[in-house]
Symmetry: C2
Subunit: 327 residues, 2 copies
């Protein structure tokens, strides 16, 4: 982003602060293309004290996460609050680069003014958690009350995002026997709120009871809630919104919210360091002949990856040193 | 591992090369405790040309992965080959630090001589793929024909391991409607072989048909196979072994095996660089006052993570430079 003109960015930022969604979207694109851009953003676009309520909505494909989020948006907006959605699920109907009214209308959301929807390109899965978290910080500083991150139930980036938000909503659907198995095995003990969506289906009651049973032994200060919801028919969504707010109150009263935000910043640091190092390494292997040689010897099995890593890291340090000396 | 005495390690290596399982296990513990140990291993413990067939067995908790692996071990050993299992699933009965006969007998495996079972501690999830891959390379160089890595169907390390092996076996059980949903959505299009385990259950036929349907549109040179198996009653396991070998032949004939091994080494490099950098960063924050200050300002929201990362990486480079100068 060396070609970024500061005047242009200033204009964008002024517009974004006034709620111009095209400007907000352009800023998020800059951050998505190169997270280092955060370096050049003014303090107004980075929240010293996070204020927004970060909600992760996770679950397998087909359980109705997007419909649920659309219904939740209506509740939030009806309550006078604002909400931004970041969809990092390639199968989400929010996805596909859309961020404006057409998609919003598509899912039937009213009061588009207080709603911002952004989908992230899932091409490079590696950097997704970093990009989603940086985007959520920018949206927080722009004053959105709620930030909802939609993630698929699987994939390596899912876990990191789920660990970084304030409230985790796990969406299930009736008959999800296997996921309840997973719940029991502790693999999925991640939710603060469990939603049995499509509650009009006949097996809903059974699934609800299974989830309740699976969670009955969970010993935590916050006892996970289970709700029967039909997002499509807007049944139980208000209860869901109430429980989500209740969880946020719980986090604030106990001070856990501060621990969560600290952990989030630690994760952001780790991800940005990793991003910077891996970008350097890739650049080095593409541009430096010595690095290329080490890399080829690694691939040929002549060097093991630990030895190769040591030599490449040494070369990387030297290149950084040169960078520092030049500046 | 600075206190590692080279004489001791030499003795261990000599014993390991003769097939002493306690020695092999000790070497793997060294690698697990600090992947940098690979640096000090002799070339005899690093395969210049990988030879083993790496198989990933993945699936949700409760589908019977471990029972299936136990049955598969019998087929492999009965065929005159040797096999090492690396279990990185905390819910695996192989897990718990056991590596010797008692566990092996527990699951009913014969010919213990050609079988090595190792479970990895899942405490620090972050470094698991690196540790599992390094362990598999050491086991390859020790001459094991098959290396089976058992991973849970979820978690961020799962995806990396699954991407790094030669053959991916996805284990399902009858009635796994949700996972088949996931299959359809492309989230789980990772398997080379799909096993509908517990095929004696009434819904087995239906699930088999659903999986077949879900996979019918998959266009790949290798058409994923679907098998009905009852690992417990040892039905269909020989077919599974045959199909796994068929897939390896396919990989060899097409040369894809070489691409896979190259990608594996690239991943190993990336993971070891990341491991080294993150260890350095943690050490720096714990020991260097300037680093500690930056870190605290980050947590207090006074610095954004990109700025903090830049400053910490600069400090890290300086500390590495000192290291290099001292040596």
């Amino acid at each position: 982003m060396g070609c970024l003109r500061m005047g242009e960015v200033d204009t964008l930022i002024q517009k974004a602060l006034k709620g111009d969604k095209v400007a907000i979207s352009k800023i998020l694109t800059l951050v998505e293309n190169d997270p280092n851009v955060v370096n050049y953003l003014p303090r107004t676009l980075w929240p010293e004290k996070p204020r927004a309520h970060l909600i992760g909505v996770t679950g397998s494909a087909g359980v109705g996460k997007s419909t649920l989020i659309a219904a939740l948006i209506d509740e939030i907006v009806g309550d006078g609050a604002s909400v931004a959605v970041i969809a990092v699920d390639p199968s989400s109907p929010f996805s596909g680069g859309a961020f404006l009214g057409d998609r919003v209308r598509m899912v039937g959301i009213k009061n588009v003014d207080r709603v911002f929807i952004r989908s992230m390109s899932t091409h490079s899965e590696e950097a997704l958690p970093l990009k989603a978290l940086l985007a959520s910080e920018v949206l927080d500083s722009l004053g959105y009350d709620y930030i909802v991150i939609e993630t698929p139930g699987a994939g390596q980036f899912n876990v990191q995002i789920v660990n970084a938000v304030d409230t985790v909503v796990v969406v299930l659907m009736p008959g999800a026997g296997d996921e309840i198995q997973a719940l029991k095995a502790g693999v999925m003990e991640i939710g603060d709120v469990y939603v049995v969506n499509k509650a009009d289906m006949p097996e809903a009651e059974l699934t609800y009871n299974q989830v309740s049973f699976a969670l009955s032994n969970v010993e935590r200060d916050w006892k996970p809630r289970i709700l029967k919801v039909s997002a499509l028919h807007r049944i139980g969504v208000r209860d869901l919104y109430r429980v989500i707010k209740e969880h946020f109150n719980f986090l604030q009263k106990t001070g856990i919210i501060n621990e969560k935000r600290v952990r989030r910043r630690e994760l952001e640091l780790e991800l940005i360091v990793r991003y910077r190092v891996m970008s350097s390494l890739t650049r080095l292997i593409n541009q430096d002949d010595r690095a290329k040689k080490i890399y080829n010897e690694l691939l040929a099995g002549k060097l093991n990856p630990v030895v190769a890593a040591n030599e490449l890291v040494n070369l990387m340090i030297k290149s950084w040193r040169l960078d520092t000396e030049v500046k």
